[in-house]
């Protein structure tokens, strides 16, 4: 088990290193780093000072090491707009984005799995076909437009839910969260559902395919032959088998949820790091952009790592195979 984790950890470090190189090259070769990292309104003396500070007058490989060194110290430049450390700003906004993404993930499972299992149990029923048609539609719907329509119906027309912001938050372990207050929850509901939409469709498909396959397996028939109730057959024998692909795929999709939250956060004015990125793109606040990219690469790599470990816990076959190597 620990061999497995260490090996995965090393792979992750390599990917982060490679990606930092790519971001570095993107900033320094494709774009002009002076443009990218220095406030266009800065005067000549200021520019020269920053160039020296950033080591932009040195050879490229030295610059890269310098960049990495700074990154390790958490220094990815100062935001032009806020005048604060870009990384700090990103990290401040991170909990809001993670809360949104986690809620969406949860919704995708809670809504997608039952519908998918149901559709997989009776693939030819009209209700199942309706579910599948809905999931095809879910794949085609432009997320941002659905978000707008949700606001229009539930906030403007019906007035049931608030349309923007996080609402009241409480602090746990030093992190602000919305889901623990009624007001925060009402603010969270629409954005989370909006973000979850695509993944619900995905989970429905996965769960349906998995269920259809499992229902034909001998072990399900044998479970019935043992006299287990249909509930136990479905909830334990079938579900436990389909949860492996569902959790794996969803785990890998968590990164894409964070990426797509850029859209949802803009629609619902959710104060997360995606909104910060879009604002930064508008204001040409390049340090924030660089910080966001490095952060999201890190998040992606960590997620993949966690999913791998989780997967090995869920599926005994993987775990033991790896340990044996």
């Amino acid at each position: 088990m620990s061999v497995f984790i260490i090996r995965r950890l090393m792979q992750s470090v390599i990917v982060v290193a490679v990606m930092s190189l790519i971001v570095f090259v993107g900033v320094n070769v494709v774009g002009d780093p002076v443009d990218m990292l220095i406030n266009p309104e800065a005067d000549q003396a200021e520019i020269e000072r920053v160039i020296r500070d950033l080591g932009l007058d040195r050879p490229l490989h030295e610059q890269y090491l310098y960049f990495v060194g700074n990154a390790f110290e958490g220094d990815l430049g100062k935001s032009f707009v806020f005048g604060e450390s870009a990384l700090k700003l990103i990290v401040q906004r991170m909990p809001a984005t993670f809360e949104l993404a986690f809620s969406a993930l949860l919704m995708a499972i809670v809504i997608g799995v039952p519908f998918g299992v149901y559709a997989g149990m009776r693939p030819n029923a009209i209700s199942s076909r309706t579910i599948m048609a809905g999931s095809i539609l879910g794949f085609s719907l432009p997320t941002f437009w659905v978000g707008l329509m949700m606001i229009m119906v539930f906030a403007v027309m019906l007035g049931w839910l608030p349309s923007t912001g996080r609402g009241d938050t409480v602090e746990i372990f030093g992190i602000e969260v919305s889901f623990l207050t009624a007001d925060g929850l009402s603010h969270l509901l629409m954005p989370a559902l909006n973000l979850a939409l695509l993944k619900i469709s995905l989970v429905i498909r996965l769960a349906r395919a998995g269920t259809r396959e499992a229902m034909h397996q001998d072990y399900v028939k044998f479970a019935r032959a043992k006299g287990l109730s249909e509930t136990r057959v479905i909830l334990v024998h079938v579900l436990k088998n389909i949860m492996i692909p569902v959790v794996t795929v969803l785990g890998l999709e968590f990164g894409s949820l964070i990426a797509f939250s850029v859209v949802t956060e803009t629609v619902f004015a959710w104060p997360g790091m995606g909104k910060l990125l879009i604002d930064a793109l508008h204001n040409l606040d390049r340090p924030i952009i660089v910080a966001y990219l490095m952060m999201i690469v890190l998040v992606f790599v960590i997620i993949n790592l966690i999913v791998d470990i989780f997967y090995s816990v869920l599926d005994p076959r993987v775990r033991l195979k790896d340990a044996g190597q």
């Binding site: 028939k221 019935r224 006299g227 088998n241 599926d315």
Partner: protein
């Protein structure tokens, strides 16, 4: 239920598969009985409907298959009349089944103890987890699995095929059923283990009065174990009777072909040998006797369905031209 009511009495059972290509009459008018403590061997070529017969009895025929008619009387009660929940209570409790493919029967993501304990608690929720575990351990020991305590905490993929089949057998034994349907349970096991399992099975039947249907290709197994034998061909039982009688004096042309027998020799211990020709597809069986295309004695009469007759006492066959003359040569 009187004392001579058989444990299982299957009457004119028909199970058909309604596929796109046509109706496959996998089981087509099967009747036989299994007495208390009796072992009935069900033999026949691949595709003759043995497994489907077993699944029909426990009510687990997969769609597009369906039991279309007949009766399955278990201790006098017709199982086909039972509601789903009543049937569930019998399954794995009073009637257990062991499946053909040991690699696929256990759920790969659940530990063996989970899969055993749930079998006990599905039928008696009052059993404590600890008691259920103890029973599971005993059952594993009974089928010859070493270090059962450790093995309980393992996952199926950590067992070999033979070991898995023994776990499946142990699961079938857990609730001390009245009837066990064993679908080729020993095919995957090596000879010594096979012997051990057969011995255990026989002992169980003698001591506890458990009845058993033993489905197999292997005549040697039936010969040593069964009290009665049913020979299936094309979804029908073509010959049945007491094991010694049938093996020594088969009267149905198909059974004779199976045994490859020379009259007068003891046929025990022989394996099935392949009869010339192909086993027919169930989708386009000929009218009348299913065996006619391969039968040396077939004539125009065989184009009608032979009814069940008793040419010799204690024997039931479906054939117009049984081999009654014991010295007759095969194919004559």
């Amino acid at each position: 239920m009187t004392s001579d009511t058989p444990t299982l009495d299957v009457r004119d059972l028909k199970t058909h598969f309604f596929t796109k290509a046509g109706v496959a009459r996998a089981v087509d008018g099967v009747s036989f009985t299994v007495g208390k403590g009796e072992v009935v061997g069900l033999v026949g070529e691949s595709g003759s409907g043995k497994s489907v017969t077993g699944f029909s009895i426990i009510g687990l025929v997969d769609p597009p298959g369906r039991v279309v008619s007949g009766e399955v009387r278990f201790k006098g009660q017709n199982l086909l009349d039972l509601k789903a929940e009543q049937m569930r209570k019998l399954r794995g409790n009073r009637i257990a089944m062991i499946f053909q493919d040991p690699m696929m029967t256990l759920n790969p993501v659940l530990r063996v103890d989970t899969q055993m304990v749930e079998t006990i608690r599905a039928h008696d929720a009052s059993v404590s987890k600890a008691d259920a575990l103890a029973r599971a351990r005993d059952a594993l020991g009974q089928v010859g699995i070493p270090a059962p305590d450790e093995r309980l905490r393992s996952y199926p993929h950590q067992f070999s095929g033979g070991m898995r089949q023994r776990v499946a057998i142990a699961i079938a034994l857990l609730n001390k059923p009245d009837l066990i349907i064993a679908d080729e349970p020993t095919t995957a096991l090596d000879v010594t283990i096979q012997g051990q399992i057969l011995y255990e099975a026989q002992k169980l039947c003698r001591e506890t009065g458990t009845s058993m249907i033993w489905i197999t290709h292997d005549l040697a197994v039936v010969a040593g174990l069964a009290d009665k034998i049913c020979v299936m061909y094309g979804g029908r039982i073509v010959e049945q009777g007491l094991i010694d009688d049938v093996l020594d004096h088969p009267v149905h042309p198909y059974t004779r072909g199976l045994l490859g027998s020379v009259p007068g020799h003891n046929t025990r211990g022989h394996r099935l040998y392949q009869i010339p020709g192909m086993a027919p597809s169930l989708l386009n069986l000929p009218e009348g006797c299913a065996f006619q295309a391969r039968c040396p004695k077939a004539d125009d009469a065989c184009k009608a369905l032979p009814h069940i007759t008793n040419p010799v006492p204690g024997r039931e066959i479906r054939c117009f031209h049984p081999h009654l003359d014991q010295d007759e040569e095969i194919g004559a």
